[in-house]
């Protein structure tokens, strides 16, 4: 598996809109690298002839009836928003940005 680079982490942070300082970037490169390395162990599992599993339980068709349940109050919804305006989440403009 290719090594995670500092540029990769900076790109991901940008996509996720997480503002990382240079020091934090350096730290994250190391920490994320260790996480990926640890998880990579599962790639050694013998999976020949084993169907990929997407759910741990062998069940299907769990549904709910089409009945309305109460939603959250708008102020509760917006409580976690960094910025709100006109009862909406205010976000930076999207185009021409990367």
């Amino acid at each position: 598996m290719a090594e995670l680079t500092r540029d990769d982490v900076a790109h991901l942070a940008g996509l996720a809109r997480i503002d990382l300082s240079d020091a934090e970037l350096d730290k994250m490169v190391g920490e994320l690298g260790i996480i990926l390395e640890s998880v990579a162990v599962v790639q050694q599992a013998p999976i020949e002839g084993v169907e990929p599993m997407s759910h741990p339980m062998p069940i299907v068709n769990v549904t709910r009836p089409d009945v309305v349940r109460p939603s959250l109050a708008a102020d509760a919804v917006l409580a976690g928003a960094p910025a709100a305006d006109q009862q909406r989440f205010s976000v930076p403009r999207i185009l021409d940005e990367d």
Binding site: H55, N61, V62, L72, A74, V77, Q87, F89, S90
Partner: protein, 508 residues
């Protein structure tokens, strides 16, 4: 709208001389369920912003989605109506992307296991021919939130300083219906695109799964288009024009993109694979975002939802609920009713099919039903700004039984046609049933032949020249005399009978 630069186009005829269009249409339909796809939030259109959201549709940590049973059933019914195979087992998948219209940072969709696949929809064209649109798949997913771009002048994304997001729409069940690439459409490509979307809309309406209001965005169409040089079999680079939201725009967008692609290719250029935005007001598309590695959505099976595996019996039960396809129903009714193509088209455009159907069922003749529900009532409904004649009639308590009764009064010889018109106006004015109106207004044909004969004699005496023409064999001249007789009788005579008596006296 000053920021839009107009791109070069060539004429439609020039495009067709050198190229064959290949189209792919993706239609998103919002289902008319009470609740969202994976949570119990209401789906009411036009609610106050962010009042129909919960931890599930906001993607808050720990929230657990559960599939809406009705949405799955609607998806299966849509698939069956589109002659698709229904998957015996399929899963949802996460489509990962970072964009503020999806607070979860992924959209729950279906990837390589759609609920329905491999179908078709036959589309009737204006020239009477039929074009078969092959359906690749219909899959379940959820709608995104709605962004309002502020700071710019037009509410569009360009020039905006920031965006305001309302998540009421996020999570509303969507069915995305994708066609296979449609080839061989040639010059009819724009018409086929429009006819397909119209036919699909009618079908979904008949299935009662969506209100399919394109102007409100509950049905949206993306148009993929590329051109192949004539004689070539290699597909050209395509563009995807997003959110074309009226039937007319679908047709115009296909045509515009054909002319734009044609200009680029003819000048030796190459098409940039990109998303285009359709502008309804100016009738052009503008460049959106290029396709790039950002389109690697890293789909993977949604671990929070279990597979959907509709039992065969259930699928068959749902198949039994399918309505007669609208196009087939129209043909059957037209033949049952004996309407001409033009009459049927007028009836369809006026939204009168159901009303005429129930009126015929109540005992009226199809011609009578068509006559009374068109004309005056349609004019009034239009003047009063009613949605359609049926709504207008219901609001005023006017029913098919009224039409049956009115027709009965004419057939029974109590009213002639012009009297029946007066009676109908009285009914529309709220004066009561046809019989009550006729009584109140004293409308009744004079049944006394003596009075009619006397009137004929008076008129013949007063119009000797016209009478002579009729005697000389110019039977059509009798029309003028009939008019005079009706006047003499103050309209209360049977014109047919008057004609009989006139002819008997002058030629018999």
């Amino acid at each position: 709208m000053s920021s839009i630069d107009t791109e070069a186009t060539i004429s439609y005829e020039e495009v067709l001389e050198s190229f064959d269009p290949v189209m792919g249409l993706e239609v998103h339909v919002e289902l008319g369920t009470n609740t969202k796809m994976f949570c119990g939030c209401a789906t009411e259109f036009g609610a106050e912003p962010n009042t129909q959201v919960c931890p599930v549709c906001l993607g808050l940590p720990g929230a657990l989605p559960v599939v809406n049973e009705k949405a799955v059933e609607s998806a299966i019914r849509i698939g069956l109506a589109l002659n698709c195979e229904i998957a015996q087992w399929c899963r949802f998948a996460r489509k990962n992307y970072f964009y503020p219209d999806m607070p979860k940072n992924f959209q729950t969709s279906q990837y390589d296991e759609p609920i329905a696949f491999e179908g078709y929809l036959d589309v009737d064209l204006d020239d009477g021919s039929t074009y078969r649109v092959e359906i690749e798949r219909a899959h379940m997913e959820e709608d995104t939130g709605k962004s309002l771009h502020v700071g710019g002048s037009t509410g569009r994304i360009h020039g905006a300083t920031h965006s305001l997001v309302d998540y009421n729409r996020a999570g509303i069940p969507l069915i995305e219906i994708v066609t296979k690439p449609l080839r061989g459409a040639g010059e009819r490509a724009p018409e086929i695109a429009r006819a397909y979307v119209a036919t699909l809309r009618d079908l979904l309406k008949a299935l009662d799964v969506s209100d399919v209001k394109m102007e409100q965005g509950s049905m949206r169409c993306d148009v993929n288009l590329s051109l192949m040089p004539k004689g070539s079999t290699t597909l050209g680079t395509r563009t995807e024009t997003k959110n074309v939201n009226s039937l007319r725009s679908v047709e115009r967008a296909v045509r515009y993109e054909m002319c734009r692609h044609g200009a680029i290719l003819q000048a030796g250029g190459s098409i940039l694979q990109e998303t285009r935005h359709w502008h309804e007001d100016t009738g052009v598309t503008t460049s959106g975002r290029p396709k790039s590695d950002a389109d690697d959505y890293r789909y993977f099976p949604e671990p929070d939802l279990v597979p959907v595996a509709p039992p065969q019996e259930r699928v068959e039960e749902l198949r039994a609920t399918l309505p007669e396809p609208p196009a087939q129903r129209r043909k059957r009714l037209q033949s049952d009713w004996g309407f001409s193509d033009l009459e049927m088209r007028d009836v369809l455009n006026a939204g009168l099919v159901d009303l005429i159907g129930s009126t015929v069922e109540a005992g009226a003749t199809p011609a009578g039903a068509r006559k009374w529900w068109s004309g005056e009532i349609a004019r009034r409904a239009n003047t009063d700004g009613a949605v359609d004649v049926a709504t207008y009639a219901v609001e005023r308590g006017i029913t098919p039984a009224h039409v049956v009764e009115l027709e009965g009064l004419v057939k029974g010889g109590r009213l002639n046609d012009s009297m029946a018109r007066q009676v109908w106006e009285g009914v529309l004015d709220g004066e009561g049933t046809p019989t009550a109106v006729a009584d109140a207004r004293g409308l009744e044909l004079v049944q006394d032949d003596g009075a009619l004969e006397a009137a004929v004699d008076t008129v013949i005496a007063a119009n000797p020249e016209v009478a002579q023409k009729v005697r000389d064999g110019k039977v059509q001249a009798a029309g003028a005399l009939i008019g005079q007789v009706m006047k003499e009788m103050k309209g209360q005579a049977d014109a047919g009978k008057a004609r009989e008596i006139i002819l008997a006296k002058l030629t018999g």
